[in-house]
């Protein structure tokens, strides 16, 4: 049984805990949060896990890995500390709020020899695993054109207090969630963004500190092009729309939630669609494989760095109204 700790007992940590409960071979043994009552509440859900407000207690829990589920501004420092202590890390996205901070994390991981898995959950959603398999089989030839659309109606917990609305704490929506889309395409195409253009769209409120919606155009190093649209602005509890089209030199593949079986409960809530469910479970199955079998994390350091750099380039583009060219190589 691999022993896990959790830093940060907020909403996403609860999701992680529920997913871990479905993965044999993993157990949460300690929860740390700066609010003792929150750490205690989450630890109670984990069974007999201990809890604390200090890192010393956490590191003394004989961990195989720690899940860093705090808001992003603290990701890098916690991750570096974990690696220095000799503990593997499952780091929520975005991995850091500057590329320099990310480099500190990557260097610490390399020095420790412990695994770093970044929580790019979109990779682990069934639709995207299927798309990846199709691409890796060579059935589509070289992927050249991608259209990724994620439309949902989602309100972050905390309303105006939500850290997701605080650009200094999350990097802005285009970083905080745009990195999911960028990382996914980097992984699917096995390529890196070369040029990016983005627009941010404040639909719910024109004075939102960060917008609920955005779109991006991406040119990849080998010439592939992508259009990405992300919106959290669906009104009235409408079910999410998730669509990906990948055209290659040898064919095309598409997955569209609009043609999936779905239903609605008596309260009006739509049921989860199979193509998007259980991403976190599959993510933790991968973590278990990493810890038990010494498998390399699929979120490779160069891809993690490329995605973060692209997300910040997108933010810069949205601010300046012009495309941004990225450097570096995979």
């Amino acid at each position: 049984m691999r022993r896990l700790g959790i830093i940060g007992a907020g909403a996403v940590a609860g999701d992680h805990l529920a997913a871990i409960g479905r993965v044999p071979g993993l157990t949460v043994v300690h929860v740390m949060d700066r609010h003792l009552e929150r750490a205690q509440a989450l630890a109670a859900l984990a069974g007999r896990a201990s809890f604390s407000t200090d890192l010393e207690s956490l590191w003394s829990a004989d961990l195989d890995a720690v899940l860093i589920c705090t808001s992003p501004e603290s990701h890098a420092d916690f991750a570096v500390e974990a690696f220095r202590t000799g503990v593997g890390v499952m780091l929520e996205k975005p991995a850091a709020l500057t590329v320099a901070d990310l480099d500190r994390v990557l260097e610490a991981a390399a020095a420790s020899g412990k695994p770093l898995l970044v929580g790019q959950t979109a990779r682990f959603q069934p639709a995207h695993m299927e798309m990846c398999e199709t691409l890796r089989s060579g059935a589509l030839g070289e992927p050249r054109l991608v259209h990724l659309t994620w439309y949902a109606g989602h309100v972050w917990p905390g309303a105006w207090r939500a850290w997701q609305l605080d650009v200094d704490r999350c990097g802005g929506h285009i970083v905080h969630n745009g990195i999911h889309a960028l990382d996914l395409l980097i992984w699917l195409l096995q390529d890196e963004p070369l040029r990016i253009f983005a627009r941010e769209i404040p639909t719910w409120s024109s004075v939102m500190p960060t917008t609920d919606s955005f779109h991006m155009l991406v040119e990849f190093a080998r010439g592939a092009l992508a259009t990405i649209e992300v919106s959290y602005a669906f009104a009235g509890g409408a079910p999410p729309l998730r669509r990906i089209v990948v055209a290659g030199t040898g064919g095309i593949a598409s997955i569209d939630s609009e043609i999936e079986p779905r239903g609605t409960s008596g309260s009006g809530a739509s049921f989860p669609i199979r193509s998007a469910v259980d991403g976190l479970v599959h993510q933790f199955e991968h973590l278990q494989d990493i810890l038990a079998n010494d498998v390399a994390p699929i979120t490779t350091p160069d891809q993690v760095r490329s995605a973060l750099a692209a997300a910040f380039a997108a933010r810069q583009s949205a601010a300046t109204g012009q495309p941004v060219r990225l450097g570096g190589t995979l």
């Binding site: 439309y151 404040p202 055209a247």
Partner: protein, 349 residues
């Protein structure tokens, strides 16, 4: 009253348009004319088209002098010039898309149109009468989704350069004939649809493009794929994807879809829907059967009927010159962005 329709050149789309026009009660296919200075292959196309449709080849002067309505079906680089000649001859004129290969060409058409009799009608082929686009427009006009805020439009086509849907691949690949790549060939449709649905002008655009799939585009230095970001008035945004790619989901020749997020709802327009899948014993694969008419055919018939009604009733066509100039300004800005790599402001915005 019957309109005598002259095809001015028969290089591109003339057969599709003639086949449809001759089913309409108000239309008589009058003949086909070509410029004397046109290349031999264009003159041959004119003769073959006339023969196949059992209509005469007329001299340029006689054709323009005796017809009621002109349909310009040349290669795009002659669209504006031939439209001007038809307008100057006092003929109602339909120009195949695009209406020109640049905004300046379209402005020239507009200048000649301004000097023409007030009841002379001019328009350019569009797909705004596609049943799904009309449905989307009705829903938006009803307020069903509130104010449209974000749109994404995707138009992808497969194949066709072997002569099946594009008469000669140079007509969409070689700028000397096409004026550009697939942006100019197909971009007209989503650009005009976005404006038709929102009622908003584009302010600025950013585009990336390239010859991603077919060397024939690369050899001529034009794109087979374009992605674009549009900022419209009132902070509304849109993305466009236009491409000719090796295959389309479901084995269809083309796919045109659009998603619109509004302040109070959302809608999806899929020009291939609704449809059923029909599997027949002994056939390897199922075929898609659309409900009702195929969308491009329905859109084309709607376009022609609207134009003929505009001529008959003395009203403007649904897409008149002011709409054409606005859409062409957006296409021009997208082309400019492809060239400069920068976000370009739409002229007139």
């Amino acid at each position: 009253m019957t309109s005598r329709v002259l095809f001015l050149s028969a290089v591109r789309h003339a057969r599709d348009y003639a086949a449809l026009l001759r089913t309409l009660p108000e239309v008589e296919l009058f003949g086909c004319s070509e410029e004397e200075t046109a290349p031999a292959w264009a003159l041959d196309d004119c003769a073959a088209f006339a023969s196949d449709f059992d209509i005469p080849v007329l001299t340029f002067e006689r054709g323009l002098g005796e017809c009621d309505l002109v349909v310009v079906c040349s290669e795009p680089t002659r669209h504006a010039r031939l439209s001007v000649k038809a307008i100057d001859a006092g003929r109602h004129t339909i120009c195949d898309k695009p209406p020109g290969v640049s905004l300046s060409e379209c402005r020239l058409v507009a200048e000649h149109l301004a000097r023409a009799p007030a009841d002379l009608r001019f328009s350019t082929v569009h797909r705004l009468f596609s049943p799904e686009i009309l449905r989307a427009r009705r829903l938006i006009d009803q307020g069903a989704i509130g104010l449209p805020l974000m749109l994404d439009a995707e138009l992808i086509v497969s194949g066709g350069l072997d002569g099946s849907t594009v008469e000669r691949h140079e007509l969409v690949c070689d700028p000397a004939l096409s004026g550009g790549g697939e942006l100019l060939n197909f971009g007209w449709y989503p650009v005009s649809a976005v404006r038709f649905l929102t009622g908003l002008e584009a302010i600025d655009v950013q585009a990336f493009g390239g010859a991603l799939f077919d060397d024939r585009y690369a050899n001529h230095g034009v794109e087979d794929s374009v992605v674009a970001s549009l900022r419209l008035a009132n902070a509304v945004t849109a993305t466009l994807m236009v491409a000719r790619i090796p295959a389309i989901p479901g084995g269809l020749p083309a796919s045109s879809t659009m998603r619109v997020i509004g302040s109070h709802g959302r809608l999806i327009a899929d020009e291939d829907a609704p449809s059923s899948f029909v599997a027949e014993t002994g056939q390897a694969s199922a075929r898609v059967h659309r409900f009702g008419r195929e969308s491009s055919s329905a859109a084309l018939q709607g376009f022609f009927e609207d134009f003929l009604a505009a001529v008959r009733d003395g009203r403007p066509p649904t897409m008149e010159i002011s709409d054409i100039l606005a859409n062409m300004a957006t296409l021009d800005a997208i082309a400019g962005s492809l060239s400069s790599g920068l976000c370009e402001r739409v002229v007139g915005a």
